[in-house]
């Protein structure tokens, strides 16, 4: 067993995205204790940075010490009680995963289905909530990483509240890559990941809960099933400054990386980051369409940071991706679930969302498809 030196790739898949050298360097700074006053002040800055990019004043805004799937589980294990009816929207893999979470925590999942590649239908959701007046939660994916479809989070939250529900929103792929306004849109509980448009290394899941979500948590009749993700306990460490009670050992170096990623996004400006993703998406789109390649998702529901395109007829999916990886050190993503073998997912996320990467991708793809 020898030291591992990874190949140098360009990461244009569905995540992880390219991590900037500043962030890699930040991770390599010396480890300090998770209760060190210097670390605690970095934690406070991280919370403030996350509030800025979530566009929220929620006091409970923090990074969960595990990947996006654990962020999802944090929302469901804390908010779903046995017997709770939850309307869950499925238009791709991550809606299915939400449903799985609901049933495992004893909830009753009412499924609203849409075609993979479509946005969640607000009409169908409205109908489902009218048909299930005792539903307590609406859960949906803002940015479906499996297809690249964006749903109208603001309208869905309004419908939920009009029908007495709180909302759980998956923003793993949307955070920092396209418009997302937690407070203005009245999202109640939200989770994301660090390895997409934040361009930090994978392993951390930022979450944010508002008062409505916290009330649901406070009024639980049964304990939260997970000890590790129980926010009543986690908040003893991430919550009140005076406390900082030991709960688990925070992933110190990974959090250095997240902190640096937040510094970089705030330097660029959040709205500038959104605009950069949109502008570069259009550049990539024009290039792909000029090659005769078409998109899975309609223009109006398309995420700029995740471009699902149909694999041209007669082209060998695996062979093309292997050639891109082996000859060009370029990673693009395979299709997932229903679209395995049918689409490629080309990510333009965070630091990977640069003109030089688009030039590389278009040129390498053109050569490979010849």
């Amino acid at each position: 067993m020898k030291s591992f030196n990874p190949p140098i790739r360009t990461l244009m898949g569905p995540g992880p995205s390219d991590v900037h050298h500043r962030i890699l360097s930040a991770m390599a700074r010396p480890t300090i204790g998770h209760l060190d006053p210097a670390f605690v002040s970095m934690m406070n800055e991280t919370k403030e940075g996350l509030k800025a990019i979530f566009q929220t004043e929620n006091e409970l805004t923090m990074p969960v010490s595990a990947p996006g799937s654990a962020g999802m589980e944090t929302c469901f294990t804390n908010l779903v009680e046995p017997g709770d009816k939850v309307v869950v929207c499925i238009n791709g893999v991550f809606g299915m995963r939400m449903k799985e979470n609901i049933t495992r925590f004893g909830g009753e999942a009412i499924v609203v289905e849409d075609e993979w590649g479509s946005a969640v239908s607000t009409d169908k959701v409205e109908q489902a909530l009218k048909d299930n007046k005792d539903a307590k939660i609406l859960a949906f994916v803002h940015a479906e990483t499996s297809t690249g479809a964006r749903s109208d989070a603001q309208s869905l939250c309004k419908i939920a509240h009009d029908n007495g529900c709180i909302t759980i929103v998956d923003a793993v792929t949307s955070l920092a890559g396209c418009e997302l306004r937690v407070d203005e849109w009245e999202i109640d509980a939200i989770y994301s990941g660090t390895q997409k448009c934040l361009s930090a290394m994978p392993g951390i899941s930022p979450v944010s809960f508002n008062e409505r979500a916290l009330n649901k948590l406070k009024n639980r009749k049964t304990p939260v099933t997970s000890w590790f993700l129980d926010l009543n306990l986690v908040m003893g460490y991430w919550g009140d400054d005076a406390q900082r009670t030991y709960h688990h050992t925070a992933p110190v170096n990974t959090l250095y990386g997240l902190h640096e990623a937040l510094v970089m996004i705030l330097e660029e400006g959040l709205e500038n980051s959104w605009a950069r993703h949109q502008k570069n998406h259009e550049l990539l789109r024009d290039g792909l369409e000029a090659m005769g390649i078409s998109f899975l998702v309609d223009k109006e529901n398309r995420l700029p940071q995740l471009n699902s395109v149909f694999i041209p007829k007669g082209v060998d999916d695996v062979q093309v991706r292997s050639t891109l990886l082996n000859d060009y050190n370029l990673e693009i993503g395979a299709g997932l679930g229903a679209y395995a073998g049918k689409v490629w997912r080309i990510g333009l996320m965070g630091h990977a969302c640069r003109k030089e990467n688009i030039a590389l991708c278009l040129s390498a793809l053109k050569d490979t498809l010849k």
Copy 2:
């Protein structure tokens, strides 16, 4: 918000321990995809390295993508079914946490209590298992991080098997710091952490399950509650080489660090690492005892890597630890739970377990206590 540059500390608390520069540098290598063939081959090496330091041939030996508490939860959520009787040994904080896990997953906890600072009593455990013939699991902490007491894992496992139970063992602080032989001692399910005697950065939890434990999992009548930690799903990614099915995004860079930590331990030799911890413990012990400082744990049950010592009478706990941190950049640990304010926990873990650190610690403590 500006880039965070941590102070340079010497970490002699209960973890995280000092991380070697080789490991910090490894973490800063460029991120690649979690399904990249180069990454998959590193995953295989990591599994082999973990098997070597756990001293096991268990096929299911892998790093959970979250801190030690999630490793604990992985064991309990997969192995405890609602209604299962579990005998759990409490001689410190982490036994209490085990009990919490058992009840949250619907198990019935039968508690065997010992004084904090003592080893788990094999006699009491034997009696508890005889009194509870329908018990299915014995859970105990090999190395109690809250006190520095080591329990006799081999004898406890034998008693468990003689009484038809499988075992869940907490080895967060013991792995690589003192003798631990998973196969020879017939430990069925075990979890550890990366931030103790592996001296890798916090955030990952190595686990290992043998066939007996896997059988318990396979014969469950109810689904595992956690989706994120469900080994039936996680094994699709970490298990069979041919598969590598996406489950969650692995913490790529943190795993680079773990891989490098394993390379370093295997270079040193596992038994040499155990011996180094013991030798340096004796050096520290002699120095502390010469200052009139005494140990919480009896000599025969004392962990070399975690030295709990009584705070001398009339000494201000917080002030001494602050002086050590602020004037000497030296972190030692506070007491936990029953021993808060009464003991210090001085770690000699992994890369922190060096003669120069002992010299610094003894000298700084002598000056501060003057």
